[in-house]
Each structure stands twice: as C-alpha cells, then as structure tokens.
Symmetry: C2
Subunit: 119 residues, 2 copies
DNA sequence: TTTATATATCACAATATAATGATATGATAT
DNA sequence: ATATCATATCATTATATTGTGATATATAAA
C-alpha cells in the first residue's frame, strides 16, 4: 500500500503543478493536445532545441503527464490522461479572468534590475 | 482590449501554474479551501514563518489566486474563485493515479548527492 | 502616548531550475 | 559494416526562486 502523509501530498501536488509551471513544458503539453507526436515533430512545433525538448519530455514522462511509445526509431508522445487536458482547459478559463493579475505578479519573474549595478 | 499572443498566453499560463507549483503556496491554498483565514491563522496552520507566508501571500494575491480584505488590524484571505479549488481537486484526482510517477520524477528536485563531495 | 499585535517589505544567502553544447545510444538504410 | 537519422544523457553555466532576519507600517489596547 502506498501511504501518503499530508506533507508528502502537498509536495507531490506541487511537483505535479510544476510539470505545468514552465513555459517550455507547457508548450509541449499544449502542442500534444492536438494528438500524439514524435519528438522531431514536437521540436518543430515548439522551436525548442532537441536536447532541451528531450530533457523536458523526460520530466513530463516521469511525472506521469505524458506517455511515450517507441515506434521503430521514433518515440511517439501523448498526454497520459484526459485530465491533463482538462486541467489545461480549466486553467485557461481561470486565466481569462485573472490574466491582468498575473501580468502584475511581481515577487518572482522580475526582470533583473541592472540600472544600479557596478561596472 | 487586452490582446494576448500565443507565446504570451503560454507564459501567463505557466505563471498561473507556478502559483500552484510551490509547496509553500500550495499549502496556503489548501488551507484556504476550508474557508477564509487571517495571516496569523495561516501561519499557525502551515507552520511557516510570518515573513515567508506574507511573501507567498503577496505572490498569490498579485496572481489573482487569493483575495484579501482588511478587517481592522487583520487581513482576511480567501481563494479568489471557485475554479482555484476545482483545479486543486482535479489535480488531486489526477495525482491519485500518477502518484508513483511523480515520486520517481528525477530531472528536478533531486536530493543533492554529497557522497563524492570534497572535504 | 507608549506598548503590543498584525502584517508587509526588502536585501541577502542558499538553493533549485533551465538552456546549451558535446556526446552517447540505438534503429534503419545503403 | 558504415553512415545517417532520432532520441537520450550529462556536465556546465546562467538564471530564477526560496527562505531568513531585520525592519517598517499600521491598528488597537493599556
């Protein structure tokens, strides 16, 4: 039996959301909503480098958000579960109402202020 | 009118998920599912430091995931929208099926290997 | 008006994460 | 067998995020 404490549950859930919480990974997930794709196709659709794509795919795979199937020399990736797409859809809906706020979120993702930096 | 390009959309959505993607923030959100709470109560429920809590609350507030209301010297925080709770619930459901995968996700969150570190 | 309580802010150190380039592996075609 | 294509791995560097401690602000109580 796989027992999960509350604290562990939060850690896990945070990790799940982190799978979604990076533009590169989210891009991949969005692209996969159109159906299964090989790595080459994902690289082409996203414009990311091959190794970066592969690194993120590994993360997504190990986090259970995507599944891969070997097809000869190709690897075919797909969303692992309908709920992955559902979550994305729900986020979009939420986003359409809070987008302005997200733009203004300042604690993180601040562009580095170099105006006072020493030379 | 607020026009959002595709690339911007992905950035925004990633940022939204990042709001959920940190154990500290997720803890706060989970705790707030039981109803509105003051900062003091949140600090007590989560066991986090006051300043850390406040920093994360600011992030959550500016990202539109929670809303705050000043009540005399207290600040009462609540989830900003039902969909915030819905997303958490859906993540829980997805998690119950992919938990094992998440445990094994290795690209990030690796415990630092100090076995070979120089003395 | 002093003191205590509640919350916010901020700079900094510690840590985590992401992108890259080089290289490895493994499959198919020649 | 060798060349080529598809994908994976890995170390390194650059950058972003987190937590902390010190301090500020604002409200209320004594």
């Amino acid at each position: 039996m796989l027992t999960i404490t509350n604290a562990e549950g939060v850690q896990l859930q945070a990790k799940l959301f982190r799978g979604f919480g990076d533009p590169a990974r989210l891009n991949i997930l969005q692209v996969l909503r159109n159906g299964p794709m090989t790595v080459t196709e994902i690289v082409a659709s996203t414009g990311m480098s091959q190794s970066n794509t592969s690194n993120h795919l590994r993360c997504l795979r190990e986090c259970g958000l995507v599944a891969a199937e070997q097809q000869g020399k190709y690897a075919l990736y797909r969303l692992s579960d309908d709920r992955v797409g559902d979550l994305l859809a729900m986020a979009e809906s939420l986003l359409s109402d809070v987008a302005r706020g997200i733009y203004e979120c300042t604690r993180y993702n601040l562009p580095r202020d170099i105006s006072q930096e020493k030379v």
